[in-house]
Symmetry: C2
Subunit: 447 residues, 2 copies
Amino acid sequence: MVRKEQFGNKEISPVATITGLTVRDIRIPTSDSLTGSDAMNPDPDYSAAYVELQTDHPDGLAGHGLAFTIGRGNELCAAAVEAWKPFVIGLDLDDIRADMRAFWRRLTGDSQLRWVGPEKGTVHMASAAIINAAWDLLAKLEGKPLWKLLADMSAEELVACIDFTYISDLMTPEEAVELLRKKETGREAREQEMLDRGFPAYTTSTGWLGYEDEKIRDLCRQAVEDGWSHVKIKVGADLQDDIRRSSIIREMIGPDRELMFDANQVWDVAEAIENMKHLAEFSPLWIEEPTSPDDVLGHAAIARAVAPIGVATGECCQNRVLFKQFLQAEAIQFVQIDSCRLGGVNEVLSVLLMAAKCGVPVCPHAGGIGLCEHVQHLAIFDYIRVGCSLENRVIEYVDNLHEHFENPVTMRDCRYLPPQAPGYSTTMVEASLDHYEFPSGTAWRDR
Amino acid sequence: MVRKEQFGNKEISPVATITGLTVRDIRIPTSDSLTGSDAMNPDPDYSAAYVELQTDHPDGLAGHGLAFTIGRGNELCAAAVEAWKPFVIGLDLDDIRADMRAFWRRLTGDSQLRWVGPEKGTVHMASAAIINAAWDLLAKLEGKPLWKLLADMSAEELVACIDFTYISDLMTPEEAVELLRKKETGREAREQEMLDRGFPAYTTSTGWLGYEDEKIRDLCRQAVEDGWSHVKIKVGADLQDDIRRSSIIREMIGPDRELMFDANQVWDVAEAIENMKHLAEFSPLWIEEPTSPDDVLGHAAIARAVAPIGVATGECCQNRVLFKQFLQAEAIQFVQIDSCRLGGVNEVLSVLLMAAKCGVPVCPHAGGIGLCEHVQHLAIFDYIRVGCSLENRVIEYVDNLHEHFENPVTMRDCRYLPPQAPGYSTTMVEASLDHYEFPSGTAWRDR
């Protein structure tokens, strides 16, 4: 691939310009099977506002990203993508690559659009989809999977991607560079370890709330057979039901495997503390989303009360400012970054760095549609360059909807193997897009 | 007006059903004059996603509410209103009135739409517009201005409007009833006082960032002549500039009037603390929005550092969960509720109650378009029934865009006089709607 800098000549034409953006409303009717059901979300239809950035690159390169939603509201993310469209059309990839921080600010900072966030909700999720599509494009241009593109960047290049606005009281650019430099020892060995063994995962497929006890039993048996060391179940609809299901699962997986609980925000603070007293006997590793994702002080109170059980949150954590506070307040012991809710790779980098500084492990939220494909890159990069440990690190895994991606995740021995294809693994299969487009695709037309 | 309960008969036909909802994208090109310019928002076009709830009431009653935005993104709030439309069409006003908490949850809690918030950003602002339109409708139905409708409700009726989810660790329904009962002493006298004298206000019209020094001097002279006791100016673009402008304004208004600063989120935490050292000599009452509206712990650090100068925030405070934490952390000394960003009257009630419990004054955010019309009702009700004090209470006032409302605010001696017309003062003038509709109205068509 011809790269401009190889010529050392700024006057030659740019490598590629973004010439178009399209967004499609893609929805999978997952609520038909109650897959994904939890106490807050009884009937999600896993959906994606799917973005394509087109370029004038001679190879016809395109970048893909998505906003993950659970059905209604997907059209709002798509509309928000359209609102950001004028800010990305016409940009040269070289300029984006040369100043990723400026690109990020351009795609999140428009003062008028910012008002309806700011940096949260549909406008921020839409920014993320576009920003991730740009990273997909840059990685394809380099011929590298995203994790490798990031792993090969210098400390300074990585830090230059991050907007430190509102987080400088926890971490400055200088501290970030220093941290990354310190962690450079052993990076080749860690990269090789990832290539050889992959990144550990946990399964959420055993305990969706909509499942009957017998189905849970079968799924647990299967999970143990398949070699899972960590299993997560949904709680929060009814305490007695939670106790019964936890008892079944703990019995099925034995004392040595880790069990995690996920309450999906249904409790108030005192309720979370009280209910966890009854669930502590099942020795969970963490309680996830015990209450409102906005409640830093509430999570801190819960964390103090339920220790040594950890508190985890992140899938609805709106931006780096919230994660900063969760870390400052020692409110969470597991950082569950969401690749599509945070403002794309750039904002994720800032959270990985803050978590590393505070010594808190990052265990990305996944599942949904495409989230596993995204976060494997982030966790693998985190291991090679930032967190540099596998202790208490597991990526969520759900064996669902991967067939809609051109480069689906590859699992071996319950671990994510590093993707090899260039890009961010975010390109969807054209036939899936056509079939599930809402409301015109064949999956929806006849309903 | 015939009321169902006057007949004591549940079988008669409902007083009115919501039969339709329309939303219009209304934008005023205020950026032409730099009115509203600040360090974060250089060129706002004050806008409204304007909602009308139609009914089958024989008098043709309709309810109005709006999402306030500053231009681009207004279409996203309008789209979000459309997304909530199926949740409101067909509801009977009697049922809404009978269980306002359930109505609020219905218009904020749909699990799929909740994902793209939750309870924040465009979906929450859209919920607010619809919920406020329903309150406008109920007040019109009762033939009362909203403040009076609320002031006449019992403690139990008011508390029954509030969703205590995620705030019960600061306030329970029982505590809320008790607080309201304690404050009942003197309510008639306070109502009379409001009718006689009105609620105090402050002006933000003197110090928009886009104004030249000479214009600021003239506006200050005018403000003093007009009798304003409190004046707010924008800061944050450049410290030396802020010092010069503050010096001019303090000189013009003298030592006895209150001066407030508004940084509109442009500083990081350490920056805010440092800059306020240089601005403290002008003895401001508060520093507003010193940093990210999401940063509870950051505001707390700033508040400790700048005391006795107060910290104020709220216009971008997304929901009651954030306000709860600002109060718990003693991070703000002035609660600036936003009538259109919080989830309508119901969520505002919860914040008024939490602020009263914590002894923190509420000084509503206003200006924009229609915000003065909204918040006068809330502040007057707060004085009569909840906060019950005028100490350190002032409503923001900007003398702009009131002509677009059928019942614009009435000011006398720099105070808001209680509105007399039935409803929430949110009904806009039809000619304004037609002229400023984006992009088809005459105000936009020729640009």
